[in-house]
Structures are given as C-alpha cells and as structure tokens.
Amino acid sequence: MADALVVAELGEDGKPKKATLSALSFAKAALPALGGSLAILVLGDKTADAAAELARYGASKVVTCEDPAFKNYTAEQFAPTVAAVAKGYGLVVATATSQGKDLMPRVAARLDAAFAGDCSGVSVEGGAIVYKRPMFAGNAFGSCTLSTPIQVATARQSEFSAAEPAGGSSPVESVAKAPVGEAAARVQFVGLDSVKSERPELTDAKVVVSGGRALKERFKEVLEPLADALGAAIGASRAAVDAGYAPGDYQVGQTGKIVAPALYLAIGISGAIQHIAGMKGSKVIVAINKDAEAPIFQIADYGLVADLFQAVPALVAELNKRRA
C-alpha cells in the first residue's frame, strides 16, 4: 500500500492556484492502484493561508514547508524538499503548469523515478496506474505504465476538473527545508515580467477568444471588445504571435497553451494542426474566417464565412444588444 502526494502551486497572493485542484482530481483517480491515502505538499515563504484552504479537500494531511527561499519559485530550491517529502510515497503529482512542467521531472530524477508528463487521463488497470498522454503533437494518445517504486506525473489542467472541497479539515504538519545542492547556489531569480490583466486566465477561462494573423496590427482593437462582451480570455495563434501581433503567452496550441473552455471563438485563424491540438477539447467552437476552405471550419460547430473586421464588431453589437 502506498500514498499519493499532490504538490500544490501557490499564486503571488499566497493562495493555492486553481490548477492545483486538477492534480488533486488526478491523484484521487489513481488512488485505487495505491490503496493508500492522499496528502498535499505546500512550499512557500508563507504557507498558512494555502494550507488552511487545501485542508478542506479531504486529504489525510497537508504538509507544509515554509522558507524565504521559496518566495520566488526555482526548481533548484524546490526539488530537494519535494523529493525528500516524496520518499515513501507511491505517486507524486502536480498540474502541468509551467511550474509543474519545470519542477516535476527534476524531482523525478532526484528520486530516480519514472515520469509521465502532461497526462490527459489516468486509470487503474490490473492494479497499476495507467497514464494516458498526448503525443505526436496531439495526433495520438499513448498509454503507459511506470515501473519505479515512486512514480511522478503531471496532469493537464484542461482534462481534469477541479476537485471539490470534501468537508472536514485535514491535519497540517510542517517539515524543514531539505538541504539544496550546488545548483541552487548558481541560479538567481531576476524578475517576472508579468502581463497584468483583468481577464480570466487563458487555461482556466470559460470563454476564449483567439485571433490569428489576419488581425494584423488591429489584434487588440478588434478582439478586446469581443472578449469584454463575453467575459473571455484572449488567445492567439502561433502565426499571430510570431508576427508580433500578440504576446507569447497568448499562444494557444501544442507548443503553447492547451485550453478547453466551454466556448472557443477562433477569429481569423486558419486552423493549423498545431493550433487545433491546443483547443480541440473545447466544448463549442466558433470560427469566423473569410476563407471558406480554411481547415478550422472542419472542426468548428458554428462557422461564419465573413470578413472579421466587419463581423466581429457586428457580433459585439449583437451580444451587447441582447444583454441590454
């Protein structure tokens, strides 16, 4: 029998990021293979608020480690403590955010553990955890098992719904920070140039409005009123980002962000394979493009063949009219 350990991720406000709740759902689905219970690990310079919040999710315990060196995440500081706590667990999992993707393979190497990254599914077959992962730029799924005593994984946020609070309150225990290696002495956090936005996070938004290269320099001018009308996050195709019309962290696609909102509007996006790999999990897809042959129409639920510079303002007006 073994337990599962979920590594939480904290936001700048010290609260757990919603992404953490997807890793919790992943761990719960894998638990029958382990036969044990689930614990949550919180690392931060302040952990009390996050621990109190995460104690509501039915874990056997919440383990905290508080240290000033955890204020700004670096894998070199985090990995030794995560690995030290993880010893004795059967599964260690985080959500595949940029932090999770950075940290967990490093933790796995420290534990000499096998790793399955960015899993879109998890199941239990014959007593083993089976990890289902997108491969070949989303053109295939591979299902694998791992054969090390500790298994390490990350969960794709868009494929695992956020765990619900389970009532009760898990006991909280704190541990000391593990000693760090030479690597930690040679890495310095210089700064985060963050894009402050009132909009929802792209990977977490219920509605996403994405624009392609066709928007040109009018990317913001055209898309922002539509995003405002829908309360949507804004995304972009790789072509729009490469052309400099939208910032890099807007990119939706296999090599950018993977999104699966309830409603996805692709505006002036032709629908390259690698873009589709990043959004085809969306519930409803709308495409607006003046090229009736654009591949995006092959996967869109509703297609409108029109000049986006006229259609988008008209759509905004229509939405606002009906809201009024």
């Binding site: 940029s98 190497a109 089976v130 799924f141 002495a185 040679r186 890495v187 409603l263 519930k283």
Partner: protein
Amino acid sequence: MKVLVALKRVADPDNANKIKIPPAGDTIDTAGLEWKMNPFDEYALEAALRLTENGKAPKSRIGEVVVVTLAPKEAETTLRAALATGADRAIRIDASDDKLDGRLVALALKSVVDAEKPDLVLMGKQAVDGDSNQVGQRLAELLDWPMATFAATLREESEKSLLVGREVDGGVLTLRLGLPAVVTVDLRIVAPKSVYSRHTEAGFVYGDGVRFAPLPAIMAAKKKPLDVKALADVAGGAALTTQYRKFERPPQRKAGIKVKDVAELVDKLADEAKAL
C-alpha cells in the same frame, strides 16, 4: 564557450496526421514518414551557434559546439546536417527509441557531459514525437547544475553567467544562471534578437529562424568527427522504466454548420449550444 547540444531525429511532425496506428494499437507505425531534426532541437542548435560566434561575422567561430544524439545509424544524416550548419563534432550513442525513455536518455547524457565538460547543455524543450518534456530537467538534476526551461532569450553576461528569459504561464521570467548549466529552448529563441553572446556586436540582428547550410559546408561536414558509443557504456545497463501499452487516435471532431450572419450565430449559441 563550449556548448553540448542534445538533439533527436523525429518523424516529421508536419506529417503527424499521417502516422498510422495498427488495429492492435500496440505501436505507432512510422514507416514511410520523413525523418527530420526535432524542431526545438534545431532551435537549440541555432542558439548554440549564435552563442559561439561573432554576430557581426558569423564565420569567425568562438568556442565549440558538440552535438549528441541517441539513435540508430540512420540518424547520422541528422548529425551531419548539424555539422553542416556549424557544429564542430558529433557523438551518436547507438540506441533505438523503443529501448529508451527520458530517464535513460538523461543518464546517458550525463555520462557524455562528464566526459565532454561543456559550459552549457542546450536542447529543445521537448521532442515532438514523445512530447515528454523531461530530459533537460532530469539531466540538470543528475549533474546538480542550474537549469532554465522554455527559454525564449539568452544573453551571455560573462564567461560564467547567462541571463535567460523563460516563457511561463504569466509572462516572461528572467533567471541568471551560473555556468555550467542546462537550458531547454522554446520557439522564440530563434527570433532575430533572442540570443547574444559576449562577442555579438551591439545591435546585431540575426535573420529570423534557423540558418541553412551552404553546399560547401555540407561537403565539409562529411569530414568532421563523428564518434559512436554503445548505450551500455554510457547508461550503465540501466533498465527501461516506462512501458507503453497502447496507442490510439484522438477522437475526431466533426464539422458543424455554417451560419449566414452574426445574428444567426448568436441565436445558435444562445438557444442550441446554450453557450452564452
């Protein structure tokens, strides 16, 4: 600066929708697909070349670039292509993909690093076949070196220090790494102003994307050194710990309907899809 670039040949990702999965679903059939260098590794190679040359006159190389792969003999074509664009030496560790996982690749690369002692290891953030995204991080841990994943910019500050801009969820995060270090690169590392070595002339702007090898360089690359090593010699006989059991196609979406105007679109979204 001495840079080791780890690269992989992959089935052409632009042809990925032509990959075949046999009915048994126990393998991915890559027969008939073209092989090419993993695009992210190609970008890593370009970044390595930019770090080891004078950006004003790219022909004057300063430093050394060694490329390494774990692959069967056919992949030597990929290594020769890397040598043609400017890498100095190549190493092939004889292995086939079905005998490898991220843990084994990292173990093998560690022993190459121990022998070669580079100042920097560069590779793509992931290979576009396995999409595993773990080798760079694992290698950094095995070496106890600092790392930066998803690098979009690199700036050599001094002989011992590298400033790296990483593309993360909320924006761009900057790390200063003391060398030696491991860096995995993202798409935008090959933008015109992404990489500056200490020798790059101020204000020098590269062409967008990766460089292509001129014909004389392709000929000359045939004479550059290419060493072959056995996997057992570099990975110490470590066993595979990832077992793929099943492959399947993602569910295909069907095309929906075309609407005639925005009014109909909003009607459908509100009444039929209940998405508003």
